[in-house]
């Protein structure tokens, strides 16, 4: 929990924002508090729990008592599982402060806040610093790119499988006598396939494996943004990729391997 000093420091930072703040409006109050909490949180959990060092100006003043009231309100609001409608985040827009009703979500540092699924397209940070979605067009573009990424991931999986089959070398057939029914002796044939370690197909497989692992982690991180649109894009992309590429898996099969 935030100590008094941290709250005072956080509120101090909020006062420096040049946006015209009208404390009477609930939306704006939440806006102010959310930035205060995030600013305090961004300094790290360790600093928050440190000793409370009040500056003289804030000791027992109206500002500090207001800060206490505001931060408890924020605590209650963040503990509630209300929807994100009131929590419009706009911590660095000084020009205008219109709290719109579209739900937004700030991702300060990963898993700082309680993360639940939401639908929004404002201030969505995606994987890299500076890659922030702020509009419908941006969100549509991001969804398309994520869809294509998931599609490419499924395709890459199947292509690797095909390449592996094509590059099978050292096929050995071992025939072993096996006692069958009625005392007869049957010949059972085992097929062993192998691959050399320092061969070009294996190196290509390794490079493709690295690419596949990286793309899979990127898709996991996209899903971890908890943005509903992006998650749906990942799921549909995986399904479309499976539909488009996985028929190849069914066709390229050995006729002697029908029993796996």
């Amino acid at each position: 929990m935030l100590t008094v000093g941290a709250r005072a420091r956080a509120f101090d930072e909020v006062i420096d924002v040049s946006a015209p703040v009208r404390p009477a409006t609930t939306c704006v109050r939440v806006l102010v508090l959310r930035s205060a909490l995030l600013a305090a949180g961004r300094r790290g959990a360790g600093g928050v729990r440190g000793s409370a060092s009040l500056t003289g100006a804030q000791n027992g003043t109206l500002i500090e008592s207001l800060g206490l009231i505001f931060s408890t309100t924020t605590m209650n609001m963040s503990m509630d599982d209300s929807s994100h409608h009131g929590m419009t985040m706009n911590s660095d827009s000084h020009a205008h402060h219109s709290p719109t009703s579209t739900p937004g979500h700030d991702h300060g540092s990963g898993s700082m806040m309680m993360m639940t699924f939401y639908f929004g397209y404002k201030k969505v940070e995606l994987l890299f610093p500076g890659l922030v979605i702020n509009s419908v067009g941006g969100m549509v573009g991001a969804c398309v790119v994520v869809f294509l990424c998931a599609l490419a991931y499924e395709g890459l999986k199947i292509s690797r499988e095909c390449l592996l089959r094509k590059s099978q070398v050292n096929v050995r057939y071992n025939s072993m006598p096996v006692p069958g029914p009625n005392g007869t002796i049957l010949m059972e044939t085992h097929k062993t396939v192998g691959q050399q370690m320092f061969s070009v197909p294996h190196l290509i497989q390794t490079v493709l494996h690295i690419i596949q692992v990286v793309i899979s982690y990127f898709l996991m991180l996209v899903f971890m943004t908890y943005n509903g649109y992006l998650c749906i894009a990942v799921a549909l992309g995986a399904g479309a990729g499976y539909f488009l590429f996985s028929w190849k898996k069914a066709v390229v099969v050995d006729i002697t391997e029908h029993c796996h």
């Binding site: 700082m112 806040m113 995986a238």
Partner: protein, 141 residues
């Protein structure tokens, strides 16, 4: 606010806004639901394997009469035309199951990311129970 290490607690918010747990009873219910989700995930994987075999049966349809090398292909009662049509539907069903499987796997990953000890244990237990129950259902020929 959320620690990045495992902790045992009765309070958790999982995946959605309404899934907000504050009590032991809620935590027990959460554990049961997550366990069932994991069991469902394992059974979906088994279903995919079974559908794969079914597609193989459909694709390895009646061989050419001149082909003598085919040894013991499974006897396929479907004719060529209906097997093609049926193959598409089985493939669509496989794709839908794949989407559900991907979404479930991501949901389970996010549940594990809550770093709650009970939820994590329920995921592990569900995986074990699911594997135990589902995999023998793959009938080997």
């Amino acid at each position: 606010m959320m620690p990045m290490y495992f902790f045992a607690s009765d309070q958790v918010v999982l995946l959605f806004d309404f899934w907000n747990i504050h009590s032991v009873a809620g935590m027990v219910l959460t554990v049961v639901i997550v366990l069932l989700m994991t069991v469902l995930y394992e059974m979906l994987k088994v279903e995919t394997v079974k559908l794969d075999k079914k597609i193989l049966d459909l694709v390895a349809a009646p061989p050419n009469p001149q082909d003598e090398t085919a040894e013991t292909l499974p006897i396929n009662p479907n004719s060529q035309k209906t097997s093609c049509k049926r193959w598409i539907w089985v493939h669509v069903l496989q794709s839908v199951l794949h989407i559900i499987q991907v979404v479930l796997s991501y949901f389970l990953m996010l549940c594990a990311m809550s770093y709650n000890v009970w939820v994590f244990l329920s995921i592990i237990a569900g995986a074990g129970i699911g594997y135990f129950v589902a995999y023998p259902l793959i009938k080997t020929c």
